[in-house]
Every structure is written in C-alpha cells, then in structure tokens.
C-alpha cells in the first residue's frame, strides 16, 4: 500500500476466533455513520430503544444489572469498534488486537448518584507499535464510532493502554479534549480518513 508504512508486518488474529455477538443479533445500530458526521447527535437522540429502557435504570442501583436493564454491554462496544479498519492496513482493529474485549469497560459515570443514567465507556487502545504516529487517528476513529452509535448518555473515555505507546499522555489528552474532537469532526481531510476506517463497520 504505502511505502512509508510504519508497521509492514503486524500480527493478525483470525477473525473467526474473535469474540462477537454480531451475527445472531440484529444489527440495530448499523449504518448510522452513513448519515454523516454531524447527524450523530440526532441519530442517537432518535434511538427509541435507549430511552424506553430508562425506567429500569433505577432498579439496578445495587450494581446487579440484569440482561434486560443494561442492553449495551462490553461485547456490544467491542462489536462496534473491532470492525473499524486500521488506517494503514485493510485489517480490522479487532484482528490487529488494537482493541480487545478485556480492555473495554462500562461503568456508572456518577457512582454516588444511583438514579443517574450516565455511563462511561472506557476503551483502551493497544497500538501495533509503540511509536505509531497514527495512534491519535485510531483513537479518534474509535471515539467517533462510539459517539455515532451510542446514545448521548454515554461518556467516551478512549485512551492508549498504559505502557504501549511512547507519547500516550499526549495522545490521551487530545482524545479527551471535547473541543478538539468537535473541531476534528469539522475537518474534511481528517474526517475523510476516519470515514474510510469506518467503512468496514456493519
């Protein structure tokens, strides 16, 4: 592809071995990104399944969430982001083990407010090489994918997994900066790259 490729020989996992619930489950989130970047808030607002579940939320205050109450779990997050393509290989982030199920967690954003619907989704990213300059772009792709697919009550926390990147702090600060992410979404060049990465998402 590109002669300047940073990691020309990455380790690739067999896609069939990756954990997924995609095939049996209906893909109700599918294709939201096609509506365009700026439609993300609206599309998630319009998600009726999420709001309909809110009455159950208060009952899980003891932290004992059943299947009905919490339909969006770590596996679903994994299915959303593992199908994103790497910006320099035509391979998914799941197959490259850039994202993996154990490095995803969902927890209440305001633990001391049991009635709060806010949830923080943490996705730790493991770049294929420790000096990968595309780490920021990969992180942004993951964040954009989640923002487009999840209801607005979710707060995104996309970070480089500790010890896997030389400038992790810098990348993390940028990925956590709402204003920078918002501005990136209006940057046509950058969004072209992101859109290409998300093309392979179901």
């Amino acid at each position: 592809m590109d002669p300047a490729m940073q990691n020309s020989n990455p380790t690739i996992l067999n896609v069939a071995d990756l954990p997924t619930r995609l095939h049996p489950a209906s893909s109700r989130k599918s294709g939201t990104y096609r509506d365009g970047i700026l439609a993300l808030t609206l599309s998630s607002l319009a998600d009726p399944t999420d709001l309909a579940l809110s009455p159950y939320e208060s009952e899980e205050s003891d932290g004992d969430a059943g299947l009905m109450e919490e339909p969006i779990d770590e596996q679903e997050i994994y299915d959303l982001v593992s199908t994103i393509s790497d910006p320099e290989h035509p391979i998914s982030l799941g197959a490259l083990a850039v994202v993996s199920l154990p490095d995803i967690c969902i927890r209440p954003t305001l633990p001391e407010v049991p009635s709060s619907l806010l949830r923080t989704v943490t996705v730790l990213i493991t770049p294929t090489i420790t000096h990968c300059s595309l780490a920021t772009v990969i992180g942004l792709g993951v964040r954009v994918r989640l923002e487009q697919s999840l209801p607005p009550r979710f707060r995104m926390d996309v970070r480089i997994k500790e010890g896997t990147h030389s400038t992790a702090d810098e990348v993390n600060k940028q990925l956590a900066d709402k204003e920078r992410v918002a501005a990136a979404l209006e940057n046509g060049t950058l969004m072209g790259v992101i859109a290409k990465m998300l093309e392979t998402c179901q």
Binding site: L110, D177, E179, R180, A183, E186
Partner: protein, 448 residues
C-alpha cells in the same frame, strides 16, 4: 444535592430559551446593557434571545463556515449593539445592529437608517467572499429592524478561535486559538470597521482555551491546554506576560474575574466591608481570578498585594518601578470538590456567588463566608506591614444540581441581570444561564 454544611438554597428553573438550537451550543453571552443574550451553536449560527420573555429574537447566520464557539458583546457601544464571534473556521467576526431590539414600538430614526445603509455597502465591499447580510430565514414576519450587519472578519489565527473578549473600555478585543496564540486587536472606531493588531502573544505551550479581561484594567487573563493561566499587561506599548499561574493538573477551560467591590457573604454594614478589604489589603491585590479545569477542580487565585496598581483607563506604568511588571499570584483556595468530570466553565456573580458547570451535567453554586464572623477584629490599629493579617474565608457549597440539562454536558454558565416579569423590582436580581450539548439554554434563579 447533598452537602451537609449548608442551607436550603437551591436553583430554580425559570425558563428555557426557545426555540433551541438542534445542535450543540457552546456559550451564551449576556448583553452588558440590554436584556438579551447571544448563544453560539455548532450549526454555525448565533441565536439572540430575550431575557424578558425567553424567546428567540433573531438568528445571525452566514458569517462563519464552521461552528461558532464563542461570542462577546462590546461594552459602551453607543446606540448600537456590537457582537464579536469566534469560530472553528479560525476567524473572528464583528456584527452590528442598531438598538431598539425586541421593542417593536421603537422605530428607527431616519439618520440611523442612512448610516446603516452606508455600513451595509462598506461591509459588502470589504468582504465580498463572505455570505454577508443573509437574511434570517425566520424573520419574514418580523420588521426590517431585525437586522444584524456583518461588519468585518478578523483574520489571523491559524486554527480554531476558542474565545473572544472585549476590554472593559471596549477599545480592545482579545482572541485566542488552538494555534497557542492570543491576539489583541484595537477597535479603531473610525466608522470603517477597521481593527488594528496591537499584539500577538505566543508564550502558551498549548491551545489557549479562554481569555478574560480584568473588570476595570487593561489586564488580560488566559487559560490553556498547557494547564496554566497567564496574566498579560501592556508595558510601554509592548504587551507581555506578567505572571504564569500553575496548579491545575489538566487543561484549564475557563477563567473569570471577581467584581471589584466584592466581599464575602454576611458582611452587610459598609464599615464591616471596609474593614475586611483593609485587613486583606484587597485594594492592593485587586480582584481575584477563578478558574476551572479538566482536573475537575475550581480554584481561586489572588495577586500578592502590590503598590501602584494601574488605574482604569490610564494604565501607564511607571518606568522607575524597580520590580517591573511581574506579578506574583498565589492559589488562595481550591473549592470543595463536587464535579466528577471536566469542569468547563465557572462564573463569578456580581453578588459574589460562584457557579461551575461541566461534563458531568452538574451545576454547582459556591458562596464565600468569613470563617470567624462572630468576633470581628477592631481595625483601629494599623495592620503590620510585613505580614498583613488576611481575613480568613472559606468557600461552601450552596447548592448542587445533578442532571441540570438531563443527560447532557453543560458547556457554559454566565450570570445576567434578571429581566422577566417575575422579578422583584426593588432589588437587582441575577439569573444564571447555562448552555448545553443538546442545544438547550436554561435560565435559573437562586432561591434562598
């Protein structure tokens, strides 16, 4: 919300501003004189709402190619309102409109109309590329006076403009950007919408998120992605950094100044207030700063007492002063921790209350109280000059509201004079205006 220390004070929703933007709103700027506010939206427009009936008055469209991130009203503009906007498109815009806003009975003087036409032509010739004076789609039924004139585009920053602020006199406009710089522009007020670049300051090591002017002096505070706050003054025609405030452990999102005559709650008598000011050498340290950060804290900063604080308007520094312009600022207080996520904005009310908002959807109100009000110190003895006894105060949480805009993050908070029919005319009431990710803008009163 639960804070054991304090009273039954709470925030009462007065109204939403309607209709709202359908996209994220970033900031709402209250007008210095009129009961109107300007709300900046990701939909590239600015909505002007009435604080009298909370309805949309007009939508300013066409000037910016990307999100409008920030806006500020020029103080002391005569007979017209002047709004500066800052956008992710790397430019700042200046907009004008003759006053008589939202008062259908007030017609326009003929002279004003002539002038308006002239400005119209000028603006058109100056910025032909801009989609200027595009009429608000919703104002077909409105009168002709619902007209915002795009005056000029200030071009210079390399990337997104994050904040704009007018100096107290209205002569200077500060803009800041992701390009790490702060620009100071002088409004030449020559009728031709000319602005001159007075200074470009590049000391910050990251995005400059916010700029805010001292309430009476030509002194600017800035907050940055580099986790610092910096203070800037002009020294013999040269703008330079006079202090760098370190303490926050993350991006500093916002800074705001205390009112000049502010005193802690509970001081009613003028003599008490005077005693407090003297005890802390407040006149020499000047108004304090409040800041908020990605580190989830809100902090109050105070300048060390300093002789010869420049006076408003005549900020000509003395060249014989040995210490130069440098100022020493210290962190006076870290406010009680409430926020669970980044704190995006903090606002200091005229009556001394602080309000902070953030990504956790909370609004938190704080009040400053004297620690030992019961035994006021007699002030007939002179305070020792070496180690002045600073009257001790503490900040308490007055109220905290979770989910103030439902599940959405709150990007901004500002205080404004209450103007609706429900106000108590015998006193000057303030309202808090909060601006959120879903486009909603809410107006609150503080009930005590």
């Amino acid at each position: 919300m639960a804070d054991p220390v304090t009273s039954s004070a709470h925030l009462q929703l007065l109204s939403d501003l309607t209709p709202p933007s359908l996209e994220r709103t970033w900031l709402t700027a209250p007008h210095p004189r009129l009961p109107i506010v300007a709300t900046c939206s990701s939909d590239k427009t600015v909505r002007v709402y009435s604080l009298t009936n909370f309805r949309l008055l007009s939508t300013i469209v066409g000037g910016h190619k990307r999100s409008v991130r920030t806006a500020a009203w020029k103080p002391h503009a005569q007979g017209e309102s002047v709004l500066a906007t800052g956008s992710f498109d790397a430019t700042a815009g200046i907009w004008r409109r003759w006053d008589s806003y939202g008062q259908a009975t007030d017609g326009w003087g003929l002279g004003q109309r002539d002038q308006a036409t002239n400005n119209h032509d000028r603006a058109e010739s100056e910025a032909d590329e801009q989609d200027i004076l595009r009429r608000d789609a919703s104002n077909a039924a409105e009168d002709d006076d619902d007209e915002w004139r795009f005056a000029v585009l200030l071009d210079g920053h390399d990337s997104e403009v994050k904040s704009v602020a007018w100096s107290p006199s209205g002569m200077l406009l500060a803009t800041c950007s992701r390009d790490k710089s702060i620009w100071i522009w002088e409004d030449l007020d020559d009728g031709d919408n000319n602005f001159e670049t007075v200074a470009v300051m590049q000391e910050h090591e990251g995005d400059v998120k916010c700029v805010s002017w001292h309430p009476v002096e030509e002194c600017l505070a800035s907050a940055s992605y580099d986790d610092t706050i910096r203070i800037w003054r002009e020294d013999l025609d040269d703008w330079g950094q006079v202090a760098c405030l370190r303490g926050h452990a993350g991006t500093v999102w916002f800074v705001d100044w205390e009112a000049v005559d502010n005193v802690p709650a509970g001081l009613v008598e003028e003599t008490e207030k005077e005693a407090w000011r003297e005890a802390g050498q407040r006149a020499l340290s000047g108004p304090r700063l409040v800041s908020c950060s990605d580190d989830r804290t809100v902090r109050v900063w105070r300048r060390q007492p300093k002789e010869q604080a420049p006076v408003a308007g005549t900020a000509m520094p003395s060249i014989i002063r040995p210490t130069g312009m440098d100022e020493t600022w210290e962190e006076e207080a870290v406010l009680p921790a409430v926020h669970d996520l980044a704190v995006y904005a903090v606002a200091w009310s005229k009556t001394g209350l602080l309000a902070s908002v953030g990504a956790d959807g909370r609004i938190v109100l704080y009040e400053e109280r004297l620690v030992d009000v019961a035994s006021p110190q007699p002030m007939d003895t002179e305070p020792p000059s070496s180690a002045p006894a600073v009257a001790r105060t503490e900040w308490v949480i007055l109220a905290a509201l979770t989910g103030a805009h439902g599940i959405y993050e709150i990007n901004h908070a500002a205080w404004a004079k209450r103007a609706d029919r429900g106000r108590d005319e015998s006193k000057e009431e303030e309202v808090l205006i909060t601006t959120a990710d879903d486009g909603s803008v809410k107006v609150w009163t503080v009930e005590r």
